[in-house]
């Protein structure tokens, strides 16, 4: 029994325990120095056969698969050997994503919507990875994979309508901006609750296998939310049923203001999580578009051959804030972005194309301009459908629809109330003004 008068706890002849609370290496004002991160050499990692057992490729969960070297050339067995047209398409999608992010971020600052999230610095992890999948492979993204939609040719105006929650938004203004959904593009509806999509992707893949289908599933999740129980469930079910699924972990170092150490990065890599489950684990340079493509293609081949699921850690850096509601200067060093040892994925792919004589700075400048103009014109087109809070939203009754397949009596009664309130709040406006018709 502890004596309340004695401040020393019971068993005081044992050493005192100490709680470790992780702390990032750099805070605002600090000089960022990433020289301790071992990025290895491009081309140095072996590329095993896709049917390799996870325990026979352990080192790939700790190293870093890289293809693009300091010389901007492709190196080693992971070089996917893509033709120049495909590389230019990839670069074009990545440039478009960046232009889109710039414009939408500005749109939020101009009050056209409530919220936006950029993926600056992480473009390759969605664009290049999804280009390695078949267009009808099902993707279960998190919230920073707009690159998948751009790469799959989803109409940009639909994305902007959704971000503006306007009358053109086919999700009827119900979802927070960027929570897209497109069944036509095999793109699952994005949830605001983190990591829930990971067991769902596994379930979809199990269903595909039950049916003897040939389509596989892939999911994206941030390193921070791998701490959720859902991710553990996803890994367990994927391993147990040998599900044809790819679990992509985007390790961008930051989960809002919490660095990756709060998800366990001080102790091991995220790719190494795979080994305990018996999943194949790959750790990849997420700023190297060719490595991203090659790793996803390897995992897709593996899944398609019933050889098993793969967990891929994309080691990258979130170059901007978490969202428009976040200010990273309050918690991390502003130097981190420029000091990041793996550079900028768009620049690295551009430099590669130039190095192999398939591109030049003028064409890049022209492409960047074209992207910016396309986004601007599409934005103007979308604005005809309204911007958030300017009346051009969906009719009130849509608020009550799709809760169930059929409207039950209690929702019908509540819908009548909403209509009554509308007439009191806005007596001069005709119902059609709300529908924007």
């Amino acid at each position: 029994m502890a004596d309340p008068a004695d401040p020393k706890p019971a068993g005081d002849n044992r050493p005192a325990l100490a709680l470790h609370v992780p702390e990032p290496k750099f805070r605002p004002g600090d000089t960022a120095d990433f020289s301790d991160i071992d990025i290895g050499q491009a081309g140095a990692q072996p590329r095993p056969d896709e049917a390799t057992k996870p325990e026979d490729m352990k080192d790939l969960a700790y190293g870093l698969v890289r293809v693009l070297g300091e010389d901007n050339k492709a190196h080693g067995p992971w070089d996917p050997k893509l033709d120049p047209d495909t590389l230019r398409t990839m670069l074009g999608h990545m440039a478009m994503v960046r232009a889109f992010d710039e414009r939408m971020f500005r749109g939020q600052r101009q009050g056209k919507t409530s919220f936006y999230m950029k993926c600056t610095g992480e473009e390759a992890t969605s664009v290049a990875a999804s280009m390695a999948l078949a267009s009808d492979d099902m993707v279960f993204p998190s919230y920073r994979q707009q690159g998948i939609l751009i790469a799959r040719g989803y109409p940009m105006i639909e994305m902007i309508n959704q971000i503006y929650s306007n009358k053109g938004d086919k999700l009827k203004g119900r979802q927070l901006p960027i929570m897209y959904s497109s069944r036509e593009h095999s793109f699952f509806t994005i949830s605001g609750n983190l990591a829930t999509q990971t067991p769902q992707a596994v379930g979809w893949a199990m269903a595909s296998a039950i049916k003897g289908d040939s389509r596989i599933a892939a999911t994206w999740v941030g390193e921070g939310s791998t701490a959720e129980g859902d991710f553990h469930s996803a890994c367990t079910f994927a391993a147990v049923y040998n599900a044809p699924v790819i679990l992509n972990v985007i390790n961008n170092q930051w989960a809002i203001s919490s660095f990756s150490g709060f998800a366990g990065a001080e102790r091991t890599t995220f790719a190494a999580r795979a080994l305990g489950y018996g999943l194949a684990g790959l750790r990849v340079d997420g700023n190297d578009a060719l490595a991203c493509y090659a790793a996803q293609a390897w995992a897709a081949n593996r899944a398609r051959a019933n050889a098993g699921p793969t967990l891929i850690e994309f080691f990258t850096y979130r170059a901007e804030g978490h969202s428009t509601s976040d200010d990273p200067s309050g918690y991390r060093s502003a130097q981190e972005r420029e000091e990041w040892p793996l550079g900028d994925p768009v620049k690295r792919l551009k430099d590669h194309l130039i190095a192999i004589g398939e591109w030049d700075e003028d064409r890049q400048a022209a492409m960047d301009k074209e992207c910016a103009e396309y986004v601007k014109a599409t934005t103007k087109e979308a604005e005809k459908n309204g911007i958030l809070g300017h009346g051009l939203h969906h009719p009130f009754h849509t608020m009550f629809e799709d809760v169930f397949e059929e409207l039950p009596w209690h929702l019908e009664e509540q819908a009548e109330q909403a209509t009554r309130e509308r007439k009191i709040k806005w007596p001069d406006r005709h119902p059609k003004d709300f529908a924007g018709q």
């Binding site: 959904s181 949830s191 596994v202 379930g203 979809w204 996803a234 079910f237």
Partner: protein, 354 residues
């Protein structure tokens, strides 16, 4: 184990081949019928495969329909519901079993934030046509983690339907309707009455289902629509609203006391058969609500509010609730906790005297 028990009907007349099933057999048959009719139906859960479920509800189904249609899962309710949502997005119609309702909480995020919201948030692009089956309620000395009645957690969630059968006939017809429904449904099976209706007199011998008229279960496919209550008894003195095990306890208490009650078995809590409730309360002028779940914010509170809002000027006495106590379900004091004949009897005396 045979899923059906053929016995002669009590009358021994033209219904000679009328089959009598207990609730477990009726549920097993509903799953069997739907696995047969619809190739997209999948049954999964802890111990449901080779073994056939801890309560035997899935006995024989894996052998008959195969390992990719009926299979065991890891002990992970989050994973079970999560993969079921993904399977539903693919186009399957999963029927996951959660071994006890008390175990369902790790799956709540997948139910509340995902299954219940898919149709709405994707504007019908994706739906979650799951039926989550789970035994619930006490009366079998299950202690606090095998006895709970968490239905009001689910009725509070927009986008979920909650269904609770009280007889073998209803269990089969309602379960088939749930599996065919395109919305996520929580199907709570009152485990105390799996093997026989329960009068609430725990010290009396258990009656088997075969003596109860609603154990006559037709073969093959039939449905009972969701959202429709069942009239258990007709009476003028008082309306009693109940579901699951408590339907039988309410009926037995009224029989013993000679009370002529209008007993409604709600069967579906969401969507609720408000018309049947209103009609009954307007007829009797008195309303007693009986459920086993804890009292505060229980579904009885919702029922009481609805009856008061809609039938106030027809009421001759305050609405009464008989419920479990607001404590964890105790093990040794189970029958002190259970809202049995004494608690219901007192409430009846009070509401009839007012």
């Amino acid at each position: 184990m045979s899923a059906q028990t053929d016995i002669a009907s009590p009358q021994g007349e033209s219904h000679a081949e009328e089959r009598r099933l207990n609730m477990i057999e009726a549920i097993n048959e509903a799953l069997d019928v739907m696995l047969e009719r619809d190739e997209d139906v999948i049954v999964m859960g802890e111990d449901v495969g080779y073994f056939g479920g801890v309560f035997r509800c899935t006995a024989g189904l894996q052998e008959k329909h195969g390992k990719t249609r009926v299979f065991d899962t890891p002990i992970s309710e989050c994973g079970i519901i999560g993969v079921a949502v993904g399977m539903g997005a693919y186009g399957l119609r999963p029927v996951p079993e959660i071994q006890f309702a008390d175990y369902i909480y790790p799956g709540l995020d997948q139910l509340i934030s995902e299954a219940a919201r898919l149709r709405y948030r994707s504007a019908t692009e994706y739906i979650a046509p799951l039926t989550v089956r789970s035994p619930f309620g006490g009366g079998i000395f299950g202690g606090q983690t095998h006895s709970q009645s968490p239905e009001s957690l689910f009725t509070h969630v927009s986008g979920l339907k909650t269904v609770i059968p009280a007889t073998p006939y209803d269990a089969k017809g309602l379960l088939i309707s749930c599996i065919e429904d395109n919305d996520p449904v929580i199907f709570f099976e009152p485990k105390r009455i799996y093997n026989g209706p329960f009068s609430g007199f725990y010290d009396k011998p258990v009656e088997p289902w075969k003596k109860h008229k609603d154990s006559a279960v037709p073969e093959g496919y039939y449905t009972i629509p969701l959202g429709k209550a069942r009239h258990v008894t007709e009476g003028e003195q008082v309306t009693m609203l109940a579901y699951g095990t408590m339907v039988h306890v309410a009926e037995a208490v009224c029989r013993d006391k000679g009370v002529e009650a209008d007993i409604l078995d709600l069967r579906t809590l969401v969507p609720l058969d408000i018309e049947a409730i209103e009609a009954s309360v307007k007829k009797t002028g008195r309303c007693l609500i009986v459920h086993e779940a804890t009292r505060t914010s229980g579904f009885g509170a919702e029922l009481s509010a609805l009856v008061t809002e809609r039938c106030f000027y027809h009421l001759e006495a305050p609405v009464e609730r008989v419920t479990g106590f607001d404590t964890p379900y105790p093990h040794s004091l189970e029958w002190a906790y259970f809202p049995g004949p004494v608690r219901i009897g007192e409430a009846l005396d009070k509401i009839l005297q007012d």
